[in-house]
């Protein structure tokens, strides 16, 4: 890997719940090939997976960009969904606006955003109602 790092771009399909997580699996494979420690790979994969699921559940999909540097991995998730009305509320464990149909699929327990924060070193949320959300997460190696 060069000092400029490696970039990965993914389109996250909002119409297909069963394919949600495919980008995270790809990133995990790439990071493994690049020789990152398993714990770093797991943290990146879980945070990104939660983000992907969120985009599919709440925002009809979006994009994910991952910049891999030797000492830091940055994930940028963008969607054009409804936005988050109250970010501090959404960050509380157990708070969820997901529909019951999502819960029956095993998600929507209100752990997504708290989990993303837990597994990353920094997480920043930019959101605007009716416009969408951008989340930037970094994991230090």
């Amino acid at each position: 890997m060069t000092d400029a790092g490696v970039n990965f771009h993914f389109d996250v399909d909002g119409d297909d719940f069963s394919s949600a997580g495919a980008a995270s699996v790809e990133v995990k494979k790439h990071l493994r090939q690049l020789g990152f420690p398993p714990e770093v790979i797991r943290r990146v994969a879980i945070a990104m997976y939660e983000g992907e699921i969120n985009m599919v559940i709440h925002a009809n999909g979006g994009t994910a960009d991952v910049l891999v540097l030797p000492d830091e991995i940055t994930m940028v998730l963008r969607d054009q969904g409804p936005g988050i009305a109250d970010v501090s509320l959404a960050m509380q464990e157990g708070f969820s606006t997901a529909r019951d149909s999502i819960r029956s699929l095993g998600f929507g327990a209100g752990m997504g955003l708290p989990n993303m924060k837990k597994y990353t070193d920094t997480m920043e949320i930019e959101t605007e109602l009716g416009k969408g959300t951008k989340i930037v997460m970094k994991v230090k190696v």
Partner: protein
């Protein structure tokens, strides 16, 4: 007492039918967890190698992969789709299904010495 079990033994104890991962049966595991809520698996589970669940959709396999788990057991006779089995096969995850209910399946493995779920530290 915590024991290490081979996946082969788990299959035997649960009288489970193997759906993929024949070549992984001698892999050793020391811990398991159970949930129908993948959100909770992602949030609370740490270092558990076996997931027991009654939930059937591809995200079960993806969750197991994200958590570096080796084996997924579908309880209550739930049958994963061929696509799910294929997804697990490509990720090197053993998949089996058992007619036992969740409570019985967990109790059986716990009695055999598998460690329970440690809640991950924040």
């Amino acid at each position: 007492m915590v024991r290490i079990l081979k996946i082969r033994k788990i299959r035997e104890l649960l009288d489970a039918e193997l759906l993929c991962g024949e070549d992984q049966l001698d892999r050793e595991v020391y811990s398991a967890c159970s949930s129908d809520m993948m959100s909770d698996v992602l949030a609370f589970v740490k270092d558990q190698a076996v997931l027991l669940t009654g939930l059937v959709n591809p995200q079960v396999i993806r969750t197991a992969e994200m958590m570096d788990m080796h084996c997924v057991v579908f309880v209550r006779g739930k049958n994963p789709t061929p696509e799910m089995v294929e997804l697990a096969r490509s990720s090197g995850i053993v998949v089996m299904h058992s007619a036992l209910r969740m409570f019985e399946a967990c109790g059986t493995l716990y009695s055999a010495g598998l460690n329970g779920t440690k809640v991950a530290e924040a």
